[in-house]
Symmetry: C2
Subunit: 142 residues, 2 copies
């Protein structure tokens, strides 16, 4: 149910939050996060527009996290590229519903709220370090 774009944005942010805080090229991030470079470039631009990463062109340039991983949540990253769609008004367009939802859409919106709360309570920091584990660190990821 999570879009490919949101998944790739999360991989990019986790990659940037892992290791040294130096700028990293899109190519570097693409290799580590295993995201196609073209797609990743678009995602990084969206993250830059949302103030989550910053990009610097030229020699020594690249992308960096702007916010500390402890202050950045999964929800903020997802909402920067492909916002979770809450159901605010009747999708059937029934005027008499006004701002109320029928039981079906109330239930569906409750599920979205659950996802929103779970993602909002998860910092990027909590995902870092043992994220895309390699070799000996794999047992940590289990």
């Amino acid at each position: 149910m999570l879009s490919q774009t949101a998944e790739y944005a999360l991989r990019a942010v986790v990659t940037l939050a892992t290791g040294r805080p130096d700028p990293r090229t899109a190519q570097d991030i693409a290799v580590e996060s295993r995201v196609p470079l073209d797609y990743l470039s678009k995602v990084l631009n969206s993250l830059a527009r949302a103030g989550i990463v910053s990009g610097q062109r030229g020699r020594g340039g690249g992308f960096q996290s702007v916010r500390p991983p402890a202050e950045l949540t999964v929800l903020q990253v997802v909402n920067a590229v492909d916002p979770i769609q809450r159901i605010r008004t009747c999708p059937l367009g029934l005027k008499q519903h006004g701002e109320h939802l029928c039981p079906l859409h109330r239930k569906l919106d409750d599920a979205m709220l659950g996802v929103e709360e779970a993602f909002g309570a998860t910092t990027i920091e909590s995902l870092v370090g043992k994220s895309f584990c390699e070799g000996s660190r794999c047992d940590v990821a289990a």
Copy 2:
């Protein structure tokens, strides 16, 4: 995060579970559920293949629910047309992960599990009766 197809399937099933159990034409269901007829026809065919509705051609024919609404869950309907994608193996294709997930994908899968559990615990019956409420019933839906 719920697809249009899943949303439409739920509306169709709730519509069929509301009112008399006689067969209803796709046109009828389309009007009540406010789903475009072409799209609805495809969704109804998927639901028929999954054994959730049955369709009968010809005079007096139409679509009917196969299972009692008390025994049919939102999860079963959603999974019949656009299954919730759980994360079973590492999406990065890291062989060393085997069947384990890194913290990011574990967290994302936890969220999908939460949705799955919420939908699995919701019967269609619990959504019926005051679903696409009209006029005086609108206050009930609040």
